[in-house]
């Protein structure tokens, strides 16, 4: 029984213990915090099989973590010189260190850690790896798997990131008023990428992929639960995630192959998540600013309506028109051109597509193939072949081969 219980608890509790200890000790002792949390679980693995699972495993873990933390503090030479200075600020009269593992302090600590981890001084890649390790309790193996790389690379990346946090003396706190907006922007970018990592990841491990998305949503929700960070753009981001996540069960077939939007069985879309997405989109509508998350969430909303109406594609087109003015990206440019073909017709879309000049992008040729399918089969075929030549992943290649086959069958 504990074989399943301990991994589960590790996933939910490791990060909480680390966050609280980091907040107590300061970010420069992030490794000590991780060690203590790891040792706590080691103790559980050693003792539970023999002594039985405690009545309340979580309380047991917290008690052990507290003891280990206190021992660590008294034992370590660092205490007098470094940690003590930090601790003195909130040390009670008795001199006894209080490790507060209350629910309130856990979520407060995790939120502060989120801001520390998403510090602009470290690369976005490292931010995501660090977030997965410290805030989501992922193992090094899992992180390596998610990034399709090896353990050494991830270990190095984490090591450098932690070093950077120490060097920069990043405080585990909410950024001050003046920095708050910019820092929140970085946090949102990281959460957005964390979600995308799960949503578009090439790893074959479906559960891992969904976990990444669930964790990104959990952390975003953490921001929403706190009044000072529950801002419109944060609600918009969560709305976007809900809409995308609603299609999880419909996106892959039993062989793990990607099912394109048009071919998805919409009865598999998760209506509860769609409803949540709409709720958060309404929340996001307070205030006057329109962020890219607002626009992307609105686009995702229209995609939850399967029926093809002119209204739907006209709205999607205008949302992409706005999104591209805020932030250009090749994928948004391509999606805009597809929406244009549905709203204004294929001829106009082909003219616009030819202007995009994305000739090293496989999706560019895939779009051209798609647009030409209705008007010029030969051009459609040659564009799909170009796309195949440039396609980087097996999943993309499979999709393109299916499209080519469909096109050639039409010709007969």
């Amino acid at each position: 029984m504990q074989q399943e219980l301990i991994p589960h608890l590790f996933r939910t509790e490791f990060r909480k213990i680390v966050a609280v200890l980091c907040k107590t000790f300061g970010i420069e002792h992030i490794e000590a915090a991780e060690d203590i949390a790891s040792e706590t679980f080691l103790t559980a693995i050693e003792s539970w099989p023999y002594k039985g699972i405690p009545e309340s495993p979580v309380a047991w873990l917290y008690a052990v973590a507290k003891n280990k933390a206190k021992n660590h503090i008294t034992r370590t030479q660092l205490f007098k010189s470094k940690i003590s200075a930090e601790l003195k600020k909130n040390l009670p009269e008795s001199g006894e260190v209080e490790i507060d593992l209350s629910e309130q302090n856990i979520s407060d600590s995790q939120l502060r850690m989120l801001f520390a981890v998403c510090h602009p001084s470290i690369s976005v890649e490292s931010q995501i790896a660090l977030a997965l390790r410290i805030l989501c309790g992922f193992g090094i193996d899992e992180i390596a798997n998610a990034f399709l790389t090896n353990k050494e690379t991830i270990n190095k990346r984490l090591f450098r990131a932690k070093e950077k946090l120490r060097d920069e003396r990043v405080e585990i706190e909410f950024p001050g008023e003046s920095q708050a907006k910019e820092r929140l922007e970085t946090v949102l970018t990281t959460l957005y990428l964390l979600f995308s990592e799960g949503y578009y990841s090439e790893t074959q491990d479906a559960i891992l992929r969904e976990d990444l998305c669930v964790e990104a949503m959990r952390l975003t929700n953490l921001l929403i639960e706190n009044p000072s960070t529950s801002l419109p753009q944060v609600n918009a981001l969560l709305s976007l995630m809900c809409f995308h996540a609603s299609r999880f069960p419909a996106r892959k077939n039993e062989n793990g192959e990607l099912i394109l939007y048009d071919e998805q069985d919409e009865t598999l879309w998760n209506q509860e998540l769609i409803a949540k997405g709409i709720y958060f989109l309404h929340q996001a509508a307070q205030g006057t600013s329109v962020s890219k998350y607002h626009l992307e969430a609105s686009i995702a909303y229209w995609h939850t309506i399967k029926e093809d109406t002119h209204e739907k594609w006209e709205n999607i087109l205008q949302l992409y028109n706005q999104l591209l003015q805020i932030e250009y990206s090749p994928i948004a440019a391509l999606n805009r051109t597809y929406a244009l073909s549905r709203a204004n017709g294929v001829e106009e879309a082909i003219v616009e597509a030819e202007k995009l000049k994305l000739s090293n992008n496989p999706y560019y040729f895939s779009l051209l193939g798609e647009l030409y399918s209705a008007v010029n089969k030969e051009k459609a075929e040659s564009n799909f072949h170009m796309a195949l030549k440039l396609a980087r992943t097996p999943a993309d290649k499979k999709v393109l081969q299916r499209k080519l086959k469909k096109l050639l069958n039409q010709q007969l």
Partner: protein
């Protein structure tokens, strides 16, 4: 890459169009700007509503609106990125404002903040 401002000049700002016509122009304008943005050439821009506009003259004389004595008014502008004036002119050619006879789009290069210009 240089930046160019495209200024929409309307010959007569007082002409009243039907709501349907306005709707069509609006969509055309949004699609036109979207097309430039999809090429990663859009920088910024805004429309300039005629409501409550004023003109300040020599000796601080203030009059309502850029109408009456002035034949031509400015309806809005966008700033684009372009490799050459020719490219900026190509963008301007697609501007829906040009459907109105007598209207024009002025293309001007922005001065660079490099101490030379």
């Amino acid at each position: 890459m240089d930046e160019y401002i495209l200024i929409f000049r309307h010959q007569d700002g007082q002409k009243v169009a039907s709501p349907e016509q306005l709707q069509i122009w609006m969509k055309q304008t949004m699609d036109w700007i979207g097309s430039i943005a999809a090429q990663n050439k859009f920088k910024s821009g805004t429309g300039l509503p005629f409501d409550d506009s004023k003109v300040v003259w020599h000796n601080n004389v203030v009059t309502n609106g850029p109408f009456g004595d002035i034949k031509e008014t400015i309806g809005g502008f966008i700033v684009v990125k372009a490799d050459s004036t020719d490219e900026a002119v190509e963008f301007a050619k697609g501007c829906p404002v040009l459907q109105g006879e007598g209207n024009s789009v002025e293309v001007r290069k922005l001065a660079k903040n490099d101490g030379v210009h």
